[in-house]
């Protein structure tokens, strides 16, 4: 790794920190300046004024805004996201740490499925360009991208869970099984968990496969027109070798970046599906927290998701610069 890339990574890192700081500040302002009292819903109707003041003090809401901001930043830096309103005595981090793995399992399995299908499909579509199969295939893919995810989820739910009763409709497993899962490994090794994951995973994958497929297809078409592929043809390499080893490899780079970015966006975008399937993940917690006006939790969940997105955007950039030797240098080459 040359110095150019190292410098690039440091620059990108600082940039990510800057972006995160701005997001965090916006988040702070959003939650503090929004209409409505952050603890309104939490204040019991029987509260005396004193009790209310006390509660405000407990959540640091009695201080002037700028002091609150400093405290907030310091706490965030310590990864202290505060205490929830609605979960007694539990820290936001605690709740989110419990949700995060579930969200990650769902995201990763659906992305894995979607991207394997998408990449292979994209290569196939590029190879079959102009054919009827390609036209039907891409139109179908466009349809899946146009259909609301939750609606697809609803239809799958109706058919597979309610009509045919083949698959469980919600959650990650019955409590009687779950309470024996002491570690994440127990959960991951349990077939029950995987059975519960099938419907939400497929629902997400149906939507997600479109991007890699279309991207792969257009990248392939673009790469296939490039001079080094012509060169490959001139050198007498076979079409299939050119397609897979040369074109696909080059076309794959943007797809990989899209995947890395996709992880972040999926974690943010799974909100709807997690709610349809009552999947105990970050998204469901976020929606519940917003509905319950549990401000610290909503803010924490939002921050968590934003953090993951910014982090993965950073990783995507780095990955791209490592995978594509041109990028690191392009920061320098941009000079002339």
């Amino acid at each position: 790794m040359n110095r150019g890339i190292a410098y690039y990574i440091i620059g990108r890192f600082l940039q990510s920190v800057l972006v995160l700081w701005i997001i965090v500040t916006l988040l702070f302002l959003l939650f503090r300046l929004a209409p409505g009292d952050p603890i309104a819903n939490y204040i019991d109707v029987n509260f005396t004024r004193e009790q209310e003041l006390n509660l405000r003090a407990r959540f640091g809401l009695d201080k002037p805004l700028h002091e609150q901001y400093v405290v907030y930043l310091v706490n965030l830096a310590k990864l202290d996201l505060g205490e929830t309103f609605s979960y007694a005595g539990r820290s936001v981090l605690d709740i989110l740490a419990e949700d995060l793995p579930n969200t990650i399992y769902l995201t990763m399995s659906s992305l894995l499925l979607a991207y394997s299908v998408g990449v292979l499909g994209g290569i196939a579509m590029a190879a079959l360009r102009g054919s009827l199969i390609e036209r039907v295939g891409t139109t179908f893919t466009l349809m899946t991208r146009a259909a609301p995810q939750f609606w697809v989820g609803m239809l799958l739910l109706t058919l597979f869970a309610f009509q045919w009763r083949l698959l469980p409709s919600s959650g990650i497993g019955p409590a009687l099984v779950r309470y024996r899962w002491e570690t994440e490994w127990d959960k991951l090794l349990s077939p029950v968990f995987w059975r519960h994951m099938i419907l939400p995973t497929f629902t997400l994958a149906i939507y997600l496969h479109g991007l890699p497929l279309l991207l792969m297809r257009s990248n392939m078409l673009e790469v296939l027109d490039q001079d080094f592929i012509v060169m490959g043809r001139l050198t007498g390499y076979s079409e299939s070798r050119l397609m897979i080893q040369h074109a696909a490899r080059n076309a794959l780079l943007p797809v990989l970046t899209a995947l890395t970015l996709g992880i972040g966006y999926s974690i943010g975008g799974n909100v709807v599906i997690e709610n349809v399937f009552s999947w105990p993940g970050l998204g469901r917690t976020l929606v519940e927290a917003v509905q319950e006006s549990d401000y610290p939790l909503a803010q924490g969940a939002f921050f968590f998701i934003a953090f993951i997105i910014v982090f993965l955007n950073f990783i995507a950039d780095i990955l791209y610069s490592l995978l594509d030797p041109r990028v690191g240098a392009s920061a320098q080459a941009r000079l002339s």
Binding site: D227, F228, M231, Y237, L323, P325, R326, A331
Partner: protein, 717 residues
């Protein structure tokens, strides 16, 4: 012909496009014998690349071969299965494709690509492949260490060498090189040619060289074929071809471009452009542009005939050619072609003025009589890249690019100055400084007595009305969404010409001056409806529509086909005289500058290393760099072989300022003093300056030893 290695018979290729079928190659026959080097010359769009791709059957999806045979070592390639054809490719026929800069897979190391080729196509083991790769790199003059580099780490010349190495990797019987040196700097170009020349001599290669540049053919080939509009129009041994071209087109091409060794006062301009191959005209396809065309030329399609043994031409008048040749070499004669008449070149006025100015241009000028219009006083331009908060968040380290350094020269009214140098030497930046597109970092530019940096808004607008720029790429120089009328009216509108009729009158007048006739015909057109030559005339018209005092022409013809270059140069030169315009030409091409300019300044790494009267600089170069540049220019004459260069390719990046001479790292004459002291600007002849220690107080400084040179240059290269 029986022993021909490759024999093409009546080959036709078509492209199916949305706007109709393009008959790109029409009944072409061609032979290459083993050990022969055949140069295939032609303008862009004449079908030479299509022909090449058809030979090895890698046509684009919409192309197809409609007739003909291609015999290679006795087998008809067109009858082979795709798998058999794949076997032939590279093993038997290797190709250096056009735009080979992008022909390497950007995400794999060059060595990997080469070794993989050797393994898969050559059947070598990894170790053998490695060994052969090293050998090949050495053969083409590349450091084998570079095998582990990525393509983006290679300079253009190095990439081209790598491609040549790949082409040679399987010992092919035939090497096809498609424009192998196009878009390379002249020194690099020369070196690649040297490599090819060397390989030809060493390996006795059979080569099919495809190029638009007859100089390259003159240097590399022993046989020449000329293609025009999908046909071969002439075929001869190289020496015959250059001595006695038979087809008028060949003759025109040879005389259309300035030749450094045999300068001419006026060049031939082959007006017009090749016919639309969707509907090829009946009769001779060149007739419209041919000064010798007769009525029957439009009716009868001439076949390729052997005039004398070994010399073939497709012209009805080829028999009379020896008699006509002298007449055909007269540039004014070419104004009589049908295409030229259509654009109004035959008008008496244009003819007279062009000729007059052409004849007058070399006359010595009284230097005192003319006032100084432009004065560059120690102008420097540095670009800061990266750094700061912006650079930090973008991940860019701060770097300073010393693009232009202490450039000083003056320009008088009506005078023309040429800026020469390799790409990256700062000549374009200097051009931008001259027209105030960018501001200098140091120094002053004084235009007509006013310092450019301190113009107020009104003065700046006035300045903008007096200074204009002409661009390299005419296809980009006009807003594609504007009609030409609008494009030409823009400067007038900006400069407050409110009256539409006055504007129109000025525009029409200017279009006429640039020989676009009748001007009304062009006003409603969009840029994409015009040919490159026409567009460049429009660009010139736009530059002149405000009647400026000063014009900067940045590579004005480098994007154009050879046949129309001369027309643009002639017109520009004439108008500059007519309008008393001071002109700065920027070009990498010294022969062009010699043709157009009173004085030439040679730039290197942002410094003007030599400046003086054109004929002086060309005929009697003082600076070692200028000497190298001139030596590197290929000559369109097979009898004049160029000398090997003593200078290395590759301009270092000007990111640090050296203590000594900026050229020291490449200089064949480098002395000890060159590393220590910045060279003085010495006036060797009146008005002829060189920035070199060879002529200054350190002239006696001892030359460096080989080791010292290596040490001095390793830091930069």
């Amino acid at each position: 012909m029986s022993e021909a290695l490759l024999s093409v018979r009546n080959l036709s290729v078509e492209y199916l496009t949305q706007s109709g079928t393009v008959y790109a190659v029409d009944q072409v026959s061609l032979d290459i014998e083993a050990g022969q080097q055949l140069g295939l010359i032609g303008e862009s769009g004449c079908g030479k690349t299509t022909l090449m791709r058809a030979l090895i059957q890698v046509l684009p999806r919409n192309g197809r071969i409609t007739s003909g045979e291609v015999y290679f070592k006795g087998r008809n390639l067109l009858e082979l299965t795709p798998a058999e054809m794949r076997e032939i490719r590279w093993r038997e026929i290797a190709t250096i494709p056009q735009a080979s800069m992008d022909s390497l897979d950007p995400v794999r190391r060059v060595g990997h690509q080469l070794e993989k080729l050797l393994k898969i196509r050559g059947g070598l083991s990894q170790a053998q492949a490695r060994e052969r790769a090293i050998m090949l790199f050495e053969l083409v003059g590349l450091d084998p260490e570079r095998l582990s580099h990525y393509p983006h780490e290679f300079s253009g010349g190095m990439k081209q060498r790598a491609i040549i190495a790949m082409a040679l990797s399987l010992n092919p019987s035939l090497l096809i090189a498609d424009e192998p040196v196009t878009a390379l700097d002249v020194i690099v170009q020369h070196q690649i040619l040297e490599v090819l020349q060397h390989l030809q001599d060493e390996l006795n290669l059979t080569v099919l060289l495809i190029t638009h540049d007859i100089s390259v053919v003159a240097q590399l080939c022993n046989e020449v074929s000329v293609m025009y509009a999908g046909r071969v129009v002439e075929r001869a041994a190289a020496e015959t071809f250059f001595r006695e071209p038979n087809h008028p087109y060949s003759l025109g091409l040879q005389q259309a471009y300035p030749n450094l060794r045999q300068p001419r006062d006026t060049l031939i301009s082959i007006e017009g452009y090749p016919p639309d191959l969707r509907q090829p005209p009946g009769g001779c396809r060149f007739a419209r542009r041919c000064p010798l065309a007769l009525a029957e030329c439009r009716a009868e399609d001439p076949a390729l005939r052997e005039i004398v043994p070994g010399h073939w031409a497709a012209c009805l008048r080829s028999a009379e050619m020896d008699a006509l040749r002298e007449q055909a070499e007269e540039p004014l004669f070419w104004r009589e072609t049908e295409a030229a008449r259509e654009v109004g070149l035959s008008t008496v006025a244009a003819e007279a003025t062009d000729a007059a100015s052409a004849n007058g241009h070399t006359a010595a000028r009284g230097e005192t009589a003319e006032e100084i219009l432009l004065d560059m006083r120690g102008v420097s331009k540095r670009f800061k890249i990266g750094g700061g908060l912006a650079g930090l968040v973008r991940g860019q380290r701060e770097q300073t690019l010393y693009a232009v350094n202490e450039v000083a020269f003056t320009l008088r009214r009506g005078e023309s100055l040429g800026l020469a140098g390799e790409s990256g030497c700062g000549k374009t930046t200097t051009g931008k400084l001259l027209v105030k597109l960018i501001e200098p970092s140091a120094g002053e530019i004084v235009f007509d007595g006013a310092e450019l940096a301190h113009l107020d808004a009104r003065a700046e607008l006035a300045f903008r009305g007096r200074v204009q720029l002409m661009f390299q790429n005419p296809f980009e120089a006009l807003n594609p969404r504007f009609t030409l009328y609008r494009s030409l009216a823009e400067p007038l509108i900006i400069h407050g010409w409110k009256d539409e009729e006055e504007r129109l009158a000025r525009i029409l007048d200017t279009l006429e001056r640039v020989n676009l006739q009748p001007p009304e015909l062009f006003l409603d057109q969009y840029p994409h409806q015009l040919s490159g030559g026409q567009l460049q005339r429009v660009v010139l018209a736009r530059a002149l529509v405000l009647h400026p005092d000063f014009l900067v022409a940045d590579e004005p013809v480098s994007m154009l086909d050879v046949s129309v270059r001369a027309g643009i140069l002639n017109t520009t030169r004439r108008l500059a005289r007519e309008m008393g315009l001071a002109t700065v030409y920027i070009s990498h091409d010294l022969s062009l500058l010699q043709y157009t300019c009173d004085r030439i300044a040679v730039m290197y790494l942002g410094y003007v290393v030599e400046i003086g009267p054109s004929h002086e600089v060309i005929a009697n170069p003082k600076h070692p760099y200028t000497q190298s540049l001139i030596a590197a220019v290929p000559v369109p004459d097979p009898t004049l072989k160029t000398e090997p260069l003593r200078i290395r390719e590759g301009v270092p990046r000007p990111t640090e300022q050296v203590r000594g001479c900026p050229f020291a790292s490449r200089c064949p004459e480098v002395r000890e003093a060159c590393l220590e002291h910045f060279p003085p600007s010495v006036e060797i002849e009146p008005g002829h300056f060189a920035l070199c220690h060879l002529y200054g107080e350190h002239a006696e400084s001892p030359p460096l030893s080989e080791e010292q040179i290596a040490a001095a240059t390793s830091t930069q290269y």
